[in-house]
Amino acid sequence: MPLQSKPHPADTAEHLANVIGLHHVRIVPACTLHMHESSQDVCLAEPSSEEEVLAVLAYARDHGLSLLPCGAGRLLAYGPPAEAPDIWLSLRRMNRVVSLSQGDLIVSVEPGLTMSELTSTLTSAGLMLPYDPPAPADATLGGLLSAGVSGPRRALYGSLRDMAISLRVALLDGRVIRTGAKVVKNVAGYDMTKLFIGAWGTLGVITEITLKLRPLPMHRETVLAAGTLDALGSFRERIVQSALQPSRLEVVWQGETDKTQDWVLAVDCDEHERSAKAQTQILESMAHDLGLTVETLEQHAADTWWADHAGAISDRMVCIRLQGPPTKLFSALAPVLDTIAALAEEPRNISATAGGITGVARIAFDPARALLDDPACWQKLRDVIAASALEMTVERAPTAIRAQCTTSPFVPGAAAVMQRLKQTFDPEHLLSPGRFLGGM
């Protein structure tokens, strides 16, 4: 096959404009779309339907152009730094709620719908997606699904892999497949939905997502217990060993308060009022036994507290995720925070939270200049975490830091299967090239 030169961005834009409309195609420097991208020109395409997505994919395939499917771009500071794509495929305009069935507790949405848009639709129907990702409210469902991140509610409700039951995916070869089924239980064929969750858009472009829902809890109540990390660790253990039903259980760093009581354990309850009150009573008596001070938030106050909590994690430039058994996480928090204090521009602005059931911790901060310039600083943090036998993932960081974290985390056997999957869906490596873990 003769080597073809890629069309100039202007030609790409002209062609795509014919397909999806003049107003929805632009040539812009990548860095205007995301602060960590280069200043290279990319063709921004904003399709409004699956057909338009397919048209963009067809053009990209025929001309060997790389594509980066994305939503609001809130989660893009992840993975190895890669070149700007030829086509920046924004799905933000595909933001409709396709169908909502209250009796079936199921909603189908387009990928560009944001969490806050979905939440307002669901709330008015008395429903919720029990999902509280550590991301801004304008992050899109498609982006969150592709990133596969989860928040504190995972403790009771699981992650998106437990909620997403069906997808429509536009493949690079022009086919559209449906995965799963729009019913809550289904084992027909492979569970293909799972393959696209956390795949960072490297296998196909998700054009519709169907999610299982829950009724909106009529009552929300959160108990906040403050004390030393040790005492909160004991509190956590008692809660986990009881028959209580926390919907979220997080130990949270309260940087700015008095040094002796710098952590709180937040225990959330989605049960109806009578059960929640009973749970709170039990929690209070456990907390008093351990010499902890307790405060209880209800309804709106509880919602606000959790929203602020998510905001504190998603506002900082760097966010690292640690995973492991909760007891290990709890005991690693102090040394990890000490190390990070030396790497952060402003130690007071470090946010940290660790799931007492999920075993997922996040620490977010704005990096000091030294961290960006000197890779050795980062190595120190990695050593501390390795000593605690926890797994670390850099969820968000400036390019300079991500460039230091490019080693493949896969064992050879698993990597081979993953590479074959990638090869099957995207043989030319046009979808989000180089951005997946290990540079896949």
Partner: protein, 509 residues
């Protein structure tokens, strides 16, 4: 027959753990789906991941087809040989390897029986949530392969929601770790693909599961309804009300008659159309209030009688009556086919009416026992294989039931798996493209296509024929409209036998 390959297997596991004599391996000719069977070449009983890996490596190198097997209680033929395969029975890998009560995780070998796990962690008030009706004999490895469900999925989810990590032997014998005990593993979700893959992508040899703390309190109610529609509406209303019960099960009159003739006699009235078994759980302080609300909703929908279990014995009787329903069908009919369709819960009444029409059209009784909260139906088509033609009609009726489920926006299987049994219906639910992509995924794991081949995903030829037959019907619908039933029969014929030309031409003719 003993040959060099058998010798090689014996070299790995020893004489005692390798069966090859046809009389001995006959017991492995099928699983709980007995309509088809075939004699395997050999059955081996590995005891460690390393032995499984050695066996797989040898067989794959020599291109000898093989398949894994747990307790063999599957209902769709997933563990049934198609002829000449080596069966890897994981029954001897039945140890509970580790339990971490502090973090609510357990690591088990695949042959561990589902209920045994629950019993082994019960002293710490823990349990393993997925509870298929066969839980006293089925294995966690089998549950992993089939993504098994159970009665409490409505609130607690199915197997895939409870397995967090696994050690897996890939078809070629390489061993990989997938998933993560906490959080998410990097890369593509191979664990998610493997769960429910019916042993076609690899064999899990160590499985890390979540265990749960037992709920503080339970309340169980039994509600009799004169009309099925009222029972269905009650189910929907409970959920719309914001209550997620641990389980909502429904049985129709025929199923009630069967279980009342069994050892678990509840004494259901003979003139009601449906009974609901509803269980709520949670904190002791709240369950009574929730149950009171459920009872109120039953009354709102014209319940004839609703009672809340007053003792553990009463609750146990009601549950046994429900869980033994399949077995009890033997009291009504010598043979039955159990189906496993799923529909959106809100379309229950409508689909039940369609099932009733299918029953009448074929002159076969269909009993309905199902997980109403999930919309997971288990229609039991009763027939007598001694009556010529009745078995075929039963298969047809079952297939029509599944199509009714797909037409209502649902699925052909909610928890029993596709296996051999429903492989024909796959092409009804998925497009040729969708099936091709699934075959491509299979090839990423098993390039030779020899691991549990012929299960789950139909081969391309077969779907082409089905599609072809369907196209012909669509092209000639005016002619065929005058005898729709024959057309249906032809399509099914094409699917069931995988035969091409003569069936399709006869449709055309």
């Amino acid at each position: 027959m003993r040959d060099a390959h058998i010798d090689a297997l014996v070299n790995i596991v020893g004489e005692r753990r390798c069966l090859w004599n046809p009389n001995q391996v006959r017991a492995y000719a099928c699983d709980g789906y007995t309509a088809e069977s075939a004699i395997p070449r050999a059955v081996v009983f590995p005891e460690s991941t390393d032995e499984v890996a050695q066996i797989c490596r040898y067989l794959y190198e020599h291109s000898i087809p093989y398949l894994p097997r747990g307790a063999g209680t599957g209902l769709s033929g997933g563990a049934t040989p198609t002829g000449g395969e080596v069966v890897l029975s994981l029954a001897r890998m039945n140890r509970l390897l580790a339990v971490d009560f502090d973090h609510l995780r357990a690591i088990v070998q695949p042959g561990l029986v589902n209920l045994t796990l629950t019993r082994r962690v019960a002293h710490e008030d823990c349990y393993y949530a997925p509870d298929p009706s066969s839980q006293s004999v089925c294995t966690i490895g089998g549950n992993f392969a089939e993504n098994a469900g159970g009665s409490h999925c409505l609130k607690y989810g199915v197997t895939t929601n409870h397995i967090v990590a696994a050690k897996v032997v890939l078809p070629d014998g390489s061993v990989i770790d997938v998933g993560a005990p906490f959080g998410d593993a990097p890369g593509y979700d191979l664990l998610g693909l493997l769960v429910g893959s019916e042993g076609t992508l690899g064999i899990a040899t160590e499985i890390t599961v979540r265990i749960l703390k037992k709920p503080q309190a339970l309340r169980t109610a039994l509600a009799y309804f004169d009309r099925v529609a009222d029972a269905s509406d009650t189910v929907t209303d409970i959920i719309v009300e914001g209550i997620i019960p641990a389980a909502i099960e429904m049985m129709d009159q025929l199923a009630m008659q069967a279980v009342d003739k069994s050892n678990y006699h509840v004494g259901y009235p003979h003139d009601i159309e449906a009974v609901l078994l509803i269980e709520v759980d949670g904190l002791a302080a709240g369950v009574d209030e929730v149950m009171a609300r459920v009872v109120e909703l039953c009354r709102k929908h014209n319940v004839r009688e609703v009672k809340v279990a007053q003792s553990d014995a009463e609750r146990a009787l009601w549950w046994s009556s429900r869980k033994m329903a399949f077995g009890a069908m033997g009291r009504l009919s010598p043979d039955y086919i159990v189906q496993d369709g799923v529909i959106p819960r809100t379309r229950l009444t409508e689909v039940l009416q369609k099932i009733e029409a299918i029953s009448q059209r074929h002159g076969l009784r269909i009993a309905n026992v199902f997980h109403a909260g999930d919309g997971n139906l288990h229609p039991l088509v009763l027939y007598d294989s001694r009556v010529p033609g009745e078995a075929e009609r039963a298969v047809q009726a079952g297939s029509e039931v599944l199509r009714a489920c797909v037409d209502a926006g649902g699925s052909i299987t909610g928890e029993h798996g596709v296996g051999i049994e429903k492989i024909g219906e796959m092409a009804y639910m998925f497009s040729a493209d969708e099936l091709q992509v699934q075959r491509a995924v299979k090839a990423c794991f098993d390039a030779k296509g020899i691991v549990n081949a012929g299960k789950l995903i139909p081969l391309p030829g077969r779907c082409v024929e089905v599609k072809h037959a369907r196209d012909i019907i669509e092209d000639h619908w005016q002619i065929l409209n005058s005898f729709p039933d024959q057309a249906e029969v032809q399509v099914r014929g094409a699917r069931a036998h995988g035969a091409g030309a003569e069936h399709t031409t006869s449709v055309q003719g």
